[in-house]
Point group: C2
Chain length 224, copies 2
């Protein structure tokens, strides 16, 4: 496969361009005073359910908005719009991740300085999104109890590029015989010291703690 | 992003080479009389659990083996080896899919004509594996009840490249309020006429039907 090294080289150029654009996005977010939190996970880990819950709960206190990436459909944007927050869908076609340019385009016409917090929901994928900086301040990696405790070991890169892990669907923990200790050990072995929250978007369990953490982050950004 | 078209072009060359190699693999499998079934799905949809169940149940009747792809760890191979079948792990590093060359390499030293059935478990990913032909006869796409009924609409390409859909973790259907009709409608709207099996590797429900289908496929290949 003689083209393989060439593919890697071209991919690295694309990544370099992405990193430059992400850096300028990060600067723009900082100047506008908006804190940006991205969510990555497998398909079906409950990113949209968690995001809907967060948007609904944070709406009373902050100006929040969300960008949601998917290969196809506008389902998630429609679902999230029920929270009352501004939401825009990014359709990636056959591309397995968002990139900084997609974010930049989706933000056209949006007044960033009117926002406190912008969420970016990436395409459901535990591999591709790890290489693309989106200019976010904080990257949450979700791990649902139904996926198996070994996912951090199998997909170490995405856990390494994330800042915080959120274990989702805790309401199903008993039904799937979720082994919390094994999951926590696996997370820590891949990314020692990583903060971990356990939540259920369905019952609301654990949401307070996660939102307190996010609010503290927003406050910190306002001080800067 | 001026490098984007170039990336697409190089990627197409890689795909072309993959397709050629996959074609020769398919020919080799046919000559050796081995039927090859691949499994694709999200991470955590239960590919390994289903595969372990199938290997165990098919062992008494057939010579079965499996190749399992993961970014890191040999966990799945160790787990599957408990079935008694020959199993080899393929570690892809940071690559989000298997390709034909990885399959060819992993098969070195294996006597294909002693096998009836070879399973290939792809990396957990609903995007990347769809573009890579592995020389398989049959591609199963798994959809677990915990992922949400809308996955076929969000990831149409992978459903389009698969032959059969297996809905997994049916034992959790009630706990997650799985809407079977919506799931089936979404599958059919993306890939009209697609065969669908509902199984639980945990309880064994639905396994008979799936194995009868696979056995019929193997018999058909022996006739050729």
């Amino acid at each position: 496969m003689s083209t393989q090294p060439r593919l890697v080289e071209v991919r690295q150029n694309v990544l370099k361009q992405n990193d430059l654009l992400a850096r300028s996005l990060r600067e723009r977010f900082r100047e506008a005073g908006v804190r940006v939190v991205s969510l990555v996970s497998s398909p079906g880990s409950g990113k949209t359910a968690l995001l809907e819950k967060m948007l609904t709960l944070l709406q009373s206190q902050y100006h929040v908005a969300a960008l949601v990436g998917d290969l196809a459909t506008e389902n998630d944007a429609a679902r999230l719009a029920r929270s009352g927050a501004a939401v825009r869908q990014i359709s990636t076609g056959t591309i397995c991740h968002l990139d900084a340019q997609m974010i930049e385009r989706a933000l056209e016409e949006w007044k960033l300085d009117e926002l406190d917090l912008l969420f970016i929901e990436n395409v459901g994928n535990l591999v591709c999104p790890s290489s693309y900086d989106l200019g976010e301040d904080l990257r949450l990696v979700l791990l649902s109890v139904t996926e198996g405790e070994d996912k951090p070991l199998k997909y170490p890169t995405i856990f390494n590029t994330a800042d915080v892990c959120v274990i989702t669907k805790m309401d199903l923990a008993d039904a799937v015989e979720f082994e919390a200790t094994a999951a926590h050990n696996n997370i820590q072995s891949v990314r020692p010291g990583m903060g971990v929250f356990e939540v259920s978007a369905k019952t609301g369990a654990g949401m307070d703690e996660l939102l307190r953490f996010l609010s503290a982050r927003i406050a910190k950004s306002e001080e800067v």
